[in-house]
Amino acid sequence: MTTTRTEPRPPRKAARRERHRPSRPASRRRNWAGGLAGWLWLLVVAVPLYWSLITSFKAQNRYYASNPLVPSGDPTLENYRLVVESDFLRYFVNSVVVTAGAVIPAVAFSFMAAYAIVRGRHMRVLRAMNGLFLMGLAIPLQATVIPVYLIIIKLRLYDSLLALILPSIAFAVPLSVLVLTNFIRDVPKELFDSMRIDGATEWTTLWRLAAPLTRPAVLTVTIFNALTIWNGFLLPLILTQSPDRRTLPLALWTFQGQYGVNVPAVLAAVVLTTLPLLVLYAFGRRQLLSGLTAGFSR
């Protein structure tokens, strides 16, 4: 995304002969339609977020009376106190444990598999495995939750955090392998060859060469899986039962059941569960967005 042009400009004379305008590239001209649509979309995205945020600071009696788009004159933290006191911290810790516990193995396993698939292209076993993972992309994995529920019960893991971690890893594998193979494939073959001539094992090559060279892809896959698992709702809903095993999205839903009439409190809970991700977003935005564009558009 640089603005320097590497190719020579079109000869000006020729361009002018064809049209009467000076030949400015279209991308330098103002794009009014695009700009307008862009700002409109900003409103569509921002208004619900803004409304949720300011409402979460309103006292319940004020909420009914005040203009919904004007922040409260005397903001209150009462809603947030109510949420934090209903065991928010425990749900937060549960979410962290499940997310970290699933993402780290998911990415490590997927990376090893992707490396094997790229390096062992000629092996029938690995081609079959790749086919299996690719097929996983097309299967709505939610359709498998009933047997997953049965397996978790049989493993005596029902209502534990491990019950959430294991299927989460499996659900993360197909897309992670796909994105990572795409990137490992771009590592020049000569580098692998010279590592091998130096006597490095596949294991060393994997961690010393392939992993550092594809770090942006690894980071992207990590963030993407973390988001998906952090926000997961169905698995906690069917695989846990006790209140102290709840993760944040599930806690949010049950909280709404209890405090449904207290809308500002529900919105405070929404804001609180969202906050950790927004903080991460503020720091990792560039990496996340560029990684996702590169990862999915090829």
Binding site: G34, G38, Y115, G136, P140, Q142, V173, L227, L292
Partner: protein, 300 residues
């Protein structure tokens, strides 16, 4: 495997490569492939979710296939899929193309655009439920008639609401994919078009759109297969209601299985979900005419 230069070729060189794929394979098989086979097997049983599992032949299938609820759920599922695809695709392409430009204010807009990517469906559904409350929501507060309708109480409105919220949540993601796609289009194409005097609109339809063909396939596959799994959003937003107006297949499966304790019929629904997903993915891949695993960099 080719042997390193200089050494005599061995017939079966030992390689640890397949072993590297084993951990991913084990978890994937254990919690995705076996369940996939298992759901098929369970659709021929009777199980209440707690007690013993009994073989019951085709009873579950007969129950599901003769239930008028199934065609309805299928219709709602396809309708949500089609309408949300038709809403999201053009908007995502336009936004993605717009974001691929380089004015500075786009970077500012971009900070906000992609916030929905971070939010859980649960948070989004709860916020919208409150926002569109006919009595106390945004529309009522601002006295805007259009907004203060009973969104969750009327079938058509509830359906529209689901499509809107789905689009709100996923357009950012898909516009990001299109943004990446647009950025990979060789600049020389645009320069050639400018030489020929093509304006912005001609360039969009003549270059950008055709060049995005594979991106459209990728994005549509994710959208279409993904829409089969809209569960949490609809579950929290409408619970499938009012009546059964937004009861999609995934929700139907959950309700039969985990609410009504009919795991057999619920498994049959899940099998249908898998078949629909596979059929759609194959169809889209056929349309794309390209191996999903192949690198798109080839030939670029």
């Amino acid at each position: 495997m080719r042997s390193p230069a200089g050494r005599p070729p061995r017939r079966a060189p030992r390689s640890i490569l397949p072993w590297l794929a084993v951990p991913a394979l084990v978890v994937f098989v254990g919690f995705a492939v076996i369940p996939l086979v298992g759901v098929f097997a369970l659709s021929f049983t009777t199980w209440d979710g707690i007690g013993a599992i009994h073989l019951s032949g085709t009873a579950s299938w007969r129950a599901v296939l003769t239930d008028p609820g199934l065609p309805h759920a299928l219709r709602v599922t396809f309708l949500v899929m089609a309408v949300s695809w038709a809403v999201q695709t053009p908007l995502s392409i336009l936004l993605g193309t717009f974001m691929a430009g380089r004015q500075r204010y786009r970077a500012v807009l971009g900070v906000v655009y992609f916030i929905p990517l971070m939010l859980s469906s649960a948070a989004i559904a709860l916020a919208y439920k409150a926002l569109l409350d006919p009595n106390f929501g945004l529309g009522a507060g601002l006295r805007i008639e259009v907004l203060s309708q009973d969104w969750l109480g009327r079938p058509g409105l509830a359906f529209g609401l689901v499509v809107f919220v789905v689009s709100w949540q996923f357009i950012p993601f898909h516009s990001l994919i299109y943004q990446g796609g647009v950025q990979q289009i060789p600049k020389s194409l645009y320069e050639a078009a400018q030489l020929d005097g093509a304006g912005r609109i001609r360039q969009f339809f003549g270059i950008t759109l055709p060049q995005l063909k594979y991106t459209v396939i990728t994005s549509s596959t994710l959208m279409v297969v993904g829409s089969l799994t809209f569960f949490d959003l609809i579950f929290i937003l409408t619970e499938g209601g009012p009546g059964d107006a937004t009861r999609v297949l995934a929700l139907d499966m959950y309700k039969r299985g985990f609410r009504a304790s009919l795991m057999g019929p619920a498994s049959a629904i899940a099998v249908i979900l898998v078949l629909v997903g596979l059929a759609l993915a194959l169809l889209l891949r056929r349309l794309g005419g390209r191996d999903a695993g192949a690198s798109q960099l080839e030939g670029a």
